[in-house]
């Protein structure tokens, strides 16, 4: 696995000033490109939203590999840290709460969204084709020149010297957005917050059960939730059965369990039906 990491070190001089890619980079592209296309199609056609998100993660990581192979080491790594590590993680955080078994509903709720989607997609294609078709490519200077003082330094010069205004504008937009999120989600506290000590005091003052309740189940024979636990004297503890079961009346019969213990103590089988009075009277047990 660690061998994967050796790739970037060997790659700073891939894109030569002639504009030709090296053989290694070409091989990497032809391996990664089908994977990315399949993953991108998976993003479109996956039934479960988590699978779609995972396909997107695959695309992002493969893209990062290609960035690194092209000498944009910083961009590639930051792509993984920021997009895969933080943003997709936030997406997953929400998607996971949907659950494994539920596929997304395919009922369209917005009228005509299919046509709007097609139109918008075609428009995007037109724009991209137009831009690419009319673009004029300058002669490549080679990645060595761009990365002359190491790749991060080159990027720092581009961002903080050449494009500092755009950078500041984006920065202030982001700060504004973050503040907006804070303000919109802020909720005024109407009552004073009770800390742990106050809560504990309240519990003691209220006379509630302070320790956790005993767990249900007579462990030698049962671990069912509806079977009450037994106290040291063999009496069933009502409160060990969850309250919901008790309210619904789904609790197992506690008196039957107590009776079983009595029967075992009396030397008979626990499941023996409560027949008439015992004739032999094994009172030696």
């Amino acid at each position: 696995m660690s061998a994967l990491a050796a790739v970037p070190a060997a790659l700073p001089a891939t894109l030569a000033s002639t504009g030709q890619t090296s053989g290694g980079e070409e091989a990497l592209f032809w391996i990664l490109a089908p994977i990315m296309v399949i993953a991108a199609l998976g993003l479109l056609f996956a039934r479960k939203s988590v699978h779609a998100a995972l396909c997107l993660v695959v695309v992002m990581i493969s893209l990062a590999f290609i960035y690194v192979a092209q000498g944009a080491v910083f961009l590639g790594v930051v792509q993984v840290v920021v997009y895969t590590g933080a943003i997709m993680m936030l997406f997953l955080f929400v998607l996971m709460l949907v659950g494994v078994d539920s596929a997304d509903s395919l009922v369209e709720t917005i009228r005509g969204q299919r046509w709007i989607g097609w139109l918008a997609g075609l428009g995007l294609v037109a724009v991209v084709v137009g831009v690419i078709g009319t673009a004029v490519y300058p002669n490549p200077v080679g990645v060595e020149e761009a990365n002359e003082a190491s790749n991060p330094v080159g990027i720092a010069h581009a961002i903080f010297a050449d494009h500092v205004f755009a950078m500041e504008v984006v920065g202030s937009l982001l700060v504004t957005a973050a503040l907006g999120a804070l303000v919109l989600t802020h909720r005024r506290r109407l009552t004073t917050k009770r800390d742990q000590k106050q809560l504990a005091d309240l519990r003691v003052a209220g006379g509630h059960h302070l320790a956790p309740l005993p767990a249900p189940g007579v462990y030698a024979r049962h671990n069912a939730m509806d079977v009450p636990a037994l106290d040291p004297f063999g009496n069933p503890i009502e409160s060990s059965v969850p309250r919901v079961l008790r309210v619904r009346g789904q609790e197992a019969d506690a008196s039957e369990y107590a009776a079983r213990i009595d029967r075992v103590l009396a030397g008979r089988s626990a499941t023996e039906p409560p027949a008439g009075p015992d004739v032999e009277g094994e009172d030696d047990k």
């Binding site: 993680m89 955080f93 494994v100 197992a252």
Partner: protein, 452 residues
């Protein structure tokens, strides 16, 4: 202190051949796997000593083979797959966790240039200008293993564990990244070899002690270790995201967790504790003899295991945090502190670089600031005004300002006439029901008794 970031990477890989890279990679993987076996034994032994008991001492000398026996046991256990699981993701998740954890050590410098089979090569698989960011990237992808494993199990506790893990990673990685940035600023590089070579004069944990403390907090949070092991808190979530895993798949998660501990310890060593450099009195011996050749591997391992010991020490002595306390620590303490510290470091570095202010002036200013803070700490505090006595519950005006409004906290609703009527009618029914001849309608369904 401020090194000009001209050369992207200090380590010289010019004599590297492909087979040297392969040897290094294989040695790293073997080193990590055996270190995990040792770490499990180490942890059990140290925790046992802290709890005044012997710990594993049966298999092999000092019980050293105990973790090998445990690993064998895990291998031969039944490999179960949950029926309702999302099969592919369930299977892939442990692999993601392990593979990503194995990637980090590729950029950790274990030593300076040595002679390996006639080739001069640094004791480091690779290095590039953004090596530390690469470590962060591997760590953040590795968490996908935990998150997906919990989700794919299709079970409540694992899902809760993985949701916790997501939130934990997002919040603690921020603090971790910010604390590392101050090292980048003073070292002038993000390449691990250059960060190590920038610590010739002083190890960064001394001038950057706040960043180091923040890093230590967040590295424990990042590796899901006590007191921050909330994704797998056994008292709350059985075993968190690993609950539905068994046999080898469980072992992979286990492996990933311990390799991650080694990873963050190695990062702490490299970035803050001088990397492979010998500690001060030793480094001065014989013109730095112990900083050359194979000696530095020893210092690196000593520092690595010192940090590992810290992990175990913390685990043995600190209780698990409550989840809200944990989140509060991350967002309200660590991240603001890291941001503030980063601004301070950036200011100081900027002053030194652009205004060429002398170091002694800066130290003097810092001293004055510290004295000022200490003096203000001794000033008597102004007494806070007594909080007003709690007001009596106000009568509730349901039409305050002419509109129907809900009651505010502290306001009491007037007695509801409808409830009184309901109570009265229920009371009358109960009286009828309790008469001896009436058939009992409140009899619950027949209680079930389990056989056996």
């Amino acid at each position: 202190m401020l090194t000009a970031a001209v050369a992207p990477v200090t380590a010289d890989f010019s004599q590297e051949t492909w087979w040297i890279s392969v040897i290094k990679a294989v040695v790293l993987v073997v080193f990590l796997l055996t270190s995990v076996l040792f770490a499990i034994w180490f942890e059990r032994k140290v925790v046992a000593r802290m709890q005044v008991r012997p710990g594993p001492n049966v298999h092999g000398p000092f019980g050293l083979l105990q973790s090998l026996a445990d690993a064998m046991k895990l291998l031969f256990k039944e490999d179960m797959t949950v029926t309702a699981a999302d099969k592919i993701v369930y299977f892939v998740a442990p692999m993601i966790a392990v593979f990503c954890s194995l990637l980090t050590f590729a950029v950790i410098p274990l030593g300076p240039v040595v002679n390996l089979f006639g080739h001069q090569t640094p004791l480091q698989l690779t290095d590039f200008p953004v090596a530390v960011l690469y470590i962060l990237a591997c760590a953040s992808v590795g968490v996908y293993g935990i998150v997906l494993g919990g989700w794919a199990s299709n079970s409540t506790y694992p899902l809760l564990g993985s949701v916790r893990s997501t939130a934990q990673v997002i919040s603690y990685e921020l603090a971790m990244g910010l604390s590392l940035v101050s090292v980048f600023l003073v070292a002038g590089s993000m390449s691990t070899s250059q960060i190590v070579s920038s610590q010739t004069q002083i190890w960064w944990f001394i001038p950057l002690i706040p960043a180091f403390v923040i890093y230590v907090f967040s590295m424990v949070g990042e590796t899901n270790r006590l007191p921050f092991d909330l994704p797998e808190a056994e008292g709350e979530l059985v075993s968190g995201y690993m609950t539905e895993y068994s046999s080898m798949k469980f072992a992979w998660f286990f492996l990933a967790e311990y390799i991650n501990m080694l990873n963050v310890s190695a990062v702490a060593t490299t970035l803050f504790l001088g990397g492979w450099r010998a500690p001060w009195p030793i480094s001065a011996i014989n013109d730095g003899m112990f900083n050359h050749g194979w000696w530095p591997v020893l210092w690196f391992l000593v520092k690595l295991w010192a940090v590992m010991f810290f992990f175990v020490w913390v685990r043995g002595s600190v209780l698990r945090f409550r989840y809200d306390q944990f989140m509060k620590l991350g967002w309200k303490v660590l991240i603001p502190a890291a941001l503030g510290w980063l601004v301070l470091v950036a200011l100081v570095q900027g002053m030194r670089k652009f205004w060429e202010i002398d170091r002694s002036v800066l130290f003097g200013a810092a001293g004055v600031l510290v004295v000022f803070i200490v003096i203000t700490a001794f000033l008597p505090e102004r007494k806070k005004p007594e909080p007003p006595p709690p007001a009596k519950p106000e009568p509730f005006d349901a039409f305050a300002g002419g509109y129907p409004v809900p009651p505010l906290p502290g306001q009491v609703l007037p007695p509801s006439p409808r409830r009184d009527r309901q109570r009265a009618s229920v009371g009358a029914q109960a009286q009828v029901a309790s008469s001896p001849d009436a058939p009992s309608e409140t009899d619950p369904t027949t209680p079930e008794v389990h056989g056996g």
